[in-house]
């Protein structure tokens, strides 16, 4: 039995295979509509994330399967003191596969120790969110046709932004990508990612604090949210949150085939005026999340079309 707790659980070959299946699902959805007939996905959301939960449920429904689960209104009510392990043991009796989101880091690993069904980590605090990374990879692959020879900019909170850390480590497996890290000094990419991933694998990268300066060179631009809860100090948050807002004016210097991504939800880091620009691909990116989750559920259940 396999789980997906961290994007590093998958080999490059397995990621490529998931992307191939997802692209086939997009091309031939009817081929997959009964693949998970009579199978059940449990979505256990110990903290709410409507968007991620709906994406998993839509994925299972489009495969002809069923869904059950819960979403806690607040993380403080986590099953009235029941351990993660106990909840998982019970649910393994009801469902064929489990997608879980939990506010505590490593909760999916604890779940996997006792589970008899595959566990998918749908986000564990600020730690991992591998299906977001798979979504990002599918989007890049669909937009570029490959994982080679492009310049990708990451902009915003690069210090705490787990989606960025995870996507950088996944893209580091491919060759010919140039990384541009655009952030305020306070929210730069952590040193250990530079040491253990970028420098160790001799990747091409640069760091800058100016989005305008970097813009003309970018083929892809990955925007992130600056989260209020990451700051101890309200004044720091207010000072930094508007630093890197993408608007039509900044896009004037961009390439005509730039592709703008964002894991969503956004606050105001991308102005709504950008939404109608054909270079804005973040809503397409969200839809890709459903297709890659379909491919993942099939893989973990050992099912093929």
């Amino acid at each position: 039995m396999r789980n997906l707790l961290n994007i590093t659980d998958l080999t490059t070959g397995e990621i490529d295979e998931l992307i191939t299946v997802a692209e086939d699902i997009i091309a031939n959805p009817e081929k997959y509509q009964d693949v998970c007939r009579r199978k059940k996905l449990a979505t256990l959301f110990f903290e709410p994330s409507t968007r991620t939960r709906l994406s998993f449920e839509a994925a299972m429904l489009d495969l002809g399967g069923n869904v059950l689960g819960f979403s806690e209104a607040s993380s403080s009510s986590t099953s009235k003191g029941e351990t993660v392990g106990d909840t998982i043991r019970v649910v393994c009796g009801y469902a064929d596969i489990i997608a879980m989101r939990h506010p505590k880091e490593g909760a999916p690993y604890a779940a996997a120790q006792v589970a008899t069904k595959p566990i998918i980590n749908a986000g564990d605090g600020g730690h991992n969110h591998p299906t977001q990374t798979l979504t990002d990879l599918l989007t890049i692959h669909r937009e570029r046709g490959s994982f080679e020879n492009f310049t990708i900019g990451f902009c915003g909170d690069l210090k705490f932004g787990r989606t960025v850390h995870s996507l950088v480590s996944a893209l580091a497996r491919y060759t010919g990508i140039h990384f541009v890290f655009i952030s305020p000094e306070e929210l730069k990419l952590p040193r250990y990612i530079i040491d253990n991933t970028l420098d160790k694998q001799h990747l091409s990268y640069e760091e800058t604090n100016s989005l305008e300066e970097a813009m003309p060179r970018l083929d892809m631009l990955y925007m992130t949210r600056v989260q209020r809860e990451r700051f101890f100090n309200e004044a720091d948050y207010i000072r930094l949150k508007d630093t890197y807002i993408l608007d039509p004016e900044k896009l004037e210097a961009a390439k005509p085939d730039l592709c703008i991504l964002h894991p969503l939800p956004r606050v105001n880091e991308i102005s709504v005026e950008v939404d109608n620009d054909p270079r804005a691909r973040y809503f397409a990116q969200a839809e890709n999340g459903k297709f890659i989750r379909m491919a993942l559920i099939m893989k973990l259940l050992g099912l093929k079309a």
Partner: protein, 139 residues
């Protein structure tokens, strides 16, 4: 200072001076009935100063713990007053229930019954990472 040599038991030798109490605690030697001698700052030709622990019983020693605290330690097994085996320890790949994760957001902190697991993720830099949350711990 004179410590009687033991007839049957274990001698942990070549402990870096100052580390013996940490080893005493991590191995749970306080729970033993037999006599345990801790010798601090013994003179050593190789090391200048070293600590030594003598345990007057053939207990099971968690060699992983020793390798983690100090890979230079040697473990001498004594039978009938004779040295019958000398073991060298090394930095272990995995540590179970030795360290506690310091990340307040880690599930092992809110559910302390979970067994702690740390994996050696960088042998050169002696870095262990929590198997649950990946928090790094430098030795």
């Amino acid at each position: 200072m004179k410590i009687d040599s033991i007839q049957n038991g274990i001698v942990l030798d070549h402990i870096q001076a100052g580390r013996s109490m940490e080893i005493y605690r991590l191995l749970g030697l306080n729970r033993l009935d037999c006599s345990v001698a801790i010798i601090k700052n013994a003179r050593s030709t190789q090391m200048g100063k070293k600590d030594i622990i003598k345990i007057a019983d053939r207990i099971d020693i968690n060699l992983d713990v020793l390798g983690f605290v100090d890979p230079g330690i040697t473990v001498d097994i004594i039978e009938n007053g004779e040295l019958v085996e000398k073991k060298h320890v090394q930095l272990p790949e995995k540590l179970v229930n030795v360290l506690k994760c310091k990340n307040p957001r880690c599930i092992t902190v809110s559910e302390p019954h979970l067994r702690s697991e740390f994996l050696l993720t960088d042998r050169e830099k002696r870095v262990y990472s929590c198997a649950y949350c990946d928090t790094r711990y430098h030795r």
